[in-house]
């Protein structure tokens, strides 16, 4: 470390510069991320119920006065003030004034306590002409003591989360978790233009040109990817056109305890995606190996082009083609063939029978995407040194042995990479199912994305609140899969995918 006043090298742990006598300031330390995490928990807690109804969550009913939090406080300014204090707290942590951030977190807690005991909360009791809501007001103490509409109330999960958030925000100030991830290189950071120890501000300034070029992309991502995320709050609301109102965790409770259609869609999503992934990857490997064995180049290129082509067709076209081929009428080629060879007596409804739909769906997927999936594998195969094959041939290895002992081991890393990358996307199944499913096969075909679509657009009343809750749950499972894949990728490849 160097003296800021005379730039001379300072001895380790020196408090005064031996050359100029200047006071050596204590190194600022790392960002206290755990404290920031505590503030985020407090923000989330402000959306969770402070008080919740004890009524049973019944299938099909719309609850009234189900939960109370900052989201239905009669004076929303209190929530804004609470959020402002959290922002101040985060800023103080960023500015390395951690002790003051404790004051901010305590102040936020005081605002929350005042809001809890001192303000009224809204209960929506109906609608008014002009698109408004008819409301009544109550205090949390009143509703806890006397109940409402025959229901009893208890302290909600938001209270517990809030307390946990406060503890984490305060305790996090004293825990420097980042130091375990940083290496002390023993060199002054100003000589390290791109090191991890270089300050963020310096790095931003040093590479300002690049960051300037990146700015439009950042703005676009913020607007189109992050801005819509703010809509997540609808998951805690009963959606009424233009006036969604707070109902706490009701949607999540309904979804997880009562909704058979949700669980059916969830199960189907996992089954269809994972089987499809295994089959597609497996067949792509097999086709790649077969293509790799072809020595006649024009023939190889022709075959490659033919197997790639279906990838560029839309699902609507593919479904139409399969619908014709698999028709149950006399025009159906497959059924006609099976009947003629005596394998079946009457035509099979491949696309409208729950016993056959999944199989047909996998076949359609294989036909469409196997060819395209071979691109990566073929690229890897072309990178294998011919010397290895020559050496093996000299050693007397036949084609099969060369495949087992040279080709497959060389391909293994790519197979795992492709598999892991695709595993992270399994929750996003939509178009292929949406186009090919029908009412008759809904029990085996409906997936989370089509379920959300149907709930949003098929009925007269778009229940955005509920579908947002389903979407959040899907994202949560997707996140677990991505993190799991990232972990698996680190283990297998030595580096993550995110």
């Amino acid at each position: 470390m160097q003296c800021k006043s005379c730039n001379s090298e300072l001895p380790k742990n020196a408090k005064i510069c031996p050359k100029c006598g200047a006071q050596v300031s204590k190194p600022a330390g790392n960002l206290k991320v755990i404290s920031i995490f505590g503030f985020i928990i407090m923000l989330i807690a402000s959306m969770l119920p402070f008080v919740q109804s004890g009524e049973e969550v019944l299938d099909g009913y719309v609850p009234k006065a189900f939960a109370f939090s900052f989201m239905n406080i009669s004076v929303p300014v209190m929530w804004y003030l609470f959020i402002l204090l959290l922002v101040v707290g985060v800023l103080l942590v960023v500015a390395k004034k951690e002790i003051f951030s404790i004051c901010a977190s305590v102040a936020a807690m005081i605002v929350w306590v005042i809001s809890y005991f001192g303000f009224t909360y809204e209960i929506v009791v109906g609608k008014t002409t002009g698109g408004g809501l008819r409301k009544e007001y109550t205090t949390l103490m009143d509703i806890l003591n006397n109940g409402y509409d025959g229901n009893t109330y208890h302290i909600g999960v938001g209270v517990y989360v809030m307390v946990i958030g406060l503890i984490v925000a305060i305790a996090g100030v004293f825990i420097d978790v980042l130091k375990h991830f940083k290496k002390d290189l023993g060199v002054d950071s100003k000589y390290l233009s791109n090191s991890l120890n270089q300050s963020l501000g310096l790095k931003l300034y040093y590479y300002r040109g690049f960051y300037l070029m990146y700015l439009p992309v950042l703005i676009m991502i913020l607007i189109f990817n992050y801005w819509p995320m703010l809509g997540c709050r609808y998951a805690f609301t009963r959606y009424v056109i233009g006036n969604p109102y707070y109902i706490g965790l009701y949607h999540f409770q309904t979804m997880l305890t009562n909704d058979t259609f949700f669980w059916r869609a969830f199960r189907n999503t996992l089954i269809l995606s994972i089987v499809k992934l295994i089959l597609n990857t497996g067949f792509a490997v097999i086709i790649s190996l077969l293509l790799n064995e072809i020595v006649n180049m024009p023939f190889k290129k022709t075959v490659q082009t033919i197997v790639y082509l279906p990838h560029f067709m839309s699902w609507v076209v593919i479904f139409s083609v399969f619908r014709m081929i698999l028709s149950v009428n006399s025009s159906g080629v497959i059924n006609g063939f099976l009947i003629n060879v005596g394998l079946i007596d009457s035509p099979i409804s491949f696309l409208a029978d729950t016993h056959y739909w999944r199989g047909t769906f996998y076949v359609m997927n294989l036909w469409k995407d196997t060819g395209w999936g071979t691109v990566l594998f073929l690229a890897t195969l072309s990178g294998i040194s011919p010397d290895l094959y020559e050496a093996a041939q000299i050693d007397g290895a036949n084609r099969f042995k060369r495949l087992i002992y040279i080709t497959l081991p060389a391909l293994a890393n790519t197979i795992i990479t492709v598999f892991i990358l695709n595993l992270a996307k399994v929750m996003n199944l939509f178009e292929s199912v949406f186009v090919t499913k029908s009412s008759a096969v809904d029990s085996v075909a409906s997936v989370l994305q089509t379920y959300v679509y149907d709930k949003t657009f098929a009925g007269g009343n778009s229940d955005y609140g509920y579908t947002t809750a389903v979407g959040l749950f899907k994202s949560f499972v997707g996140m677990i899969l991505v993190l799991g894949c990232n972990y698996a990728s680190k283990k297998v490849r030595g580096r993550g995918i995110v």
Binding site: F70, G131, I241, P244, S439, A458
Partner: protein
């Protein structure tokens, strides 16, 4: 220090705006002034500029829309800002518009959306306006007009029923067409079915004879086992007969679930038997309207259908024309509803609605009087809404109208008209065909012209005859009131219903198993909806 302050300010502003946005929507607005008040209608003045959101049923911009807007402005003196979303995405756009709060003054809505938005308090109660309107008191209304407008009487946000929309035309419906050539091939004649009320067993015998005489896999092609809007059963009416797909008010005045009733179980059994007997196309599952229609026009004897239930009126002509274009025998017989069915069901019509935004701005009465109430004035404005703009879509001057040819070498079609003779002009969008109509189908308008319809001659005898048959043998569908519980659960309930219908029809489930599955899956939801519907009057 300065830099630190700058940095903190920047981060602070960003965080505050983001977190503040999370808090958005916490406050709700409410107002209570869009009720129709007692108004002196004679002194109501023109509303000034107002916005109108409408689907593709009004001539589109690409089809001379601007000429229509100008012509209407010239006739009515109204200053209208037209909002024209893409027809196929119309209701998505309507939903976004209402959710965003940027609500138009006038909007065209289907019956489902009318009930939804009225129930949420977004529509203006036009009961008083209708009662005092010139249209209602003109003496030109058709006999079914009251019944058609009654479908627009729905529950408002205050829980009271009121008229929230105006339908200038009937909803139309489907009737069953039989190919005369198929009847003849089965040893029957047109007289065996025409102008007769058959029983189901007689009808089914005819279908079986037709099946035996044809080399096709089926006799009837239909776009799905069940429709997606009321009347749901209109594509296979002879099989559903009196069965109700959804909730309805029974004779005792109580709401019941039609799907769980015995009539529906019998209907499902009939459909299953008909599929098994090769009467109904077993590919009906997931079949679109155009696919079903194409089977009716098919020139391949193995995929051709001989019976098709489709829209009455102008479609009677279109079906004949398309069959003739394919070189098939184009003689069709539109049969009366069978005895067990009683009447065909007429679809609920779309309705013009005035929003609470217009009411808040004090324009609602003016918009009703000068825009909605003039649509059926029996004169020039009604002409504009039925036939389009004079000089662009139609004319009555002496001239020769020549259609463009689709390709070089095609025969040129020209029509010569004398002075004062109404005639359509080539469609601006497709000059190879003549215009057919504007927003209001002339045969479906609920009010006649003062005197005779100037454009009546443009309708063929087949169309008018067919529609007369349909009108005298049909009844308007009954709208279902929208409750919050119904809106929340109807998607799941309909999913289960459609699943049962499909599986039973395809023979993958017995009727009993289907009903058990239905009750097990959505029984509690059905119960909740019925409770909400039956508590409406309390």
């Amino acid at each position: 220090m300065k830099k630190t302050i700058k940095k903190l300010t920047a981060v602070g502003l960003t965080l505050t705006s983001v977190m503040g946005l999370v808090a958005c929507g916490a406050s709700n607005s409410s107002s209570d002034d869009s009720k129709s008040k007692s108004v002196d209608w004679s002194s109501v003045e023109k509303p000034g500029t107002f916005s109108v959101m409408v689907d593709g049923t009004v001539v589109k911009d690409t089809n001379g829309g601007q000429a229509f807007y100008d012509y209407l402005a010239e006739l009515t003196g109204l200053d209208i800002e037209w909002i024209r979303p893409e027809h196929s995405a119309y209701y998505d756009q309507v939903a976004s518009t209402f959710a965003s709060g940027d609500i138009p003054d006038v909007v065209l809505l289907s019956s489902d959306y009318l009930a939804l938005y009225a129930n949420n308090g977004y529509l203006w109660d036009m009961t008083d306006a209708w009662e005092n309107s010139e249209t209602k008191n003109s003496g030109r209304l058709i006999s079914a007009a009251e019944k058609i407008e009654a479908a627009n009487v729905v529950l408002g946000a205050d829980g009271e029923s009121a008229m929230y929309g105006f339908s200038p035309f009937r909803g139309n419906g489907c009737c069953t067409y039989i190919k005369a050539s198929w009847l003849k091939a089965a040893g029957l004649s047109v007289d065996d079915v025409k102008d007769k009320t058959l029983t189901y067993s007689e009808y089914y015998d005819i279908l079986k004879k037709m099946k035996d005489a044809s080399s096709s896999d089926y006799v009837i092609s239909a776009p799905g086992w069940i429709g997606t809007e009321a009347p749901y059963t209109n594509y296979l009416p002879e099989f559903y007969q009196d069965a109700e797909y959804t909730f309805y008010k029974n004779a005792d005045g109580e709401y019941v679930d039609g799907f769980s009733e015995e009539a529906m179980q019998d209907a499902l059994q009939r459909i299953q038997d008909a599929v098994k007997d090769g009467i109904i196309d077993s590919e009906t599952e997931g079949q679109t309207t155009s696919q079903a229609r194409n089977k009716f026009y098919s020139t391949d004897p193995s995929t051709e259908s001989g019976v098709f239930t489709y829209w009455a009126g102008t479609w009677a002509d279109t079906l004949v024309t398309n069959l003739a274009n394919k070189g098939l025998d184009s003689e069709l017989v539109a049969i009366y509803p069978i005895e067990e069915l009683g009447t065909y069901t007429e679809r609920l019509s779309t309705a013009w609605c005035i929003t609470s935004a217009a009411a808040d701005a004090g324009k609602a009465e003016g918009i009703y009087k000068y825009f909605i109430d003039t649509m059926l004035d029996g004169g020039d404005v009604q002409m504009a809404w039925e036939y389009g703009a004079k000089g662009t879509h139609w004319d009555d001057k002496a001239e020769t109208v020549t259609l463009a040819t689709a390709k070089e070498g095609d025969a040129v079609k020209s029509y010569t008209y004398s002075e004062g003779e109404f005639h359509f002009l080539p469609s601006p969008e497709d000059p190879t065909t003549l215009m057919k109509k504007n927003h209001i189908d002339p045969v479906l308008a609920i009010a006649s012209f003062n005197g005779t319809d100037p454009g009546a001659k443009s309708l063929t005898e087949n169309v008018t005859e067919n529609f007369e048959m349909f009108s005298s043998h049909s009844d308007v569908a009954t709208p279902l009131p929208m409750t919050e519980t119904l809106g929340n659960n109807i998607t799941d309930i309909n999913t289960a219903r459609n699943e049962v219908i499909s599986k039973v029809a395809l023979g993958q489930m017995t009727v009993e198993d289907g009903m058990k599955y239905y009750t097990d899956t959505v029984g509690s939801k059905v119960e909740a909806v019925l409770k909400s519907l039956n508590s409406l009057g309390e």
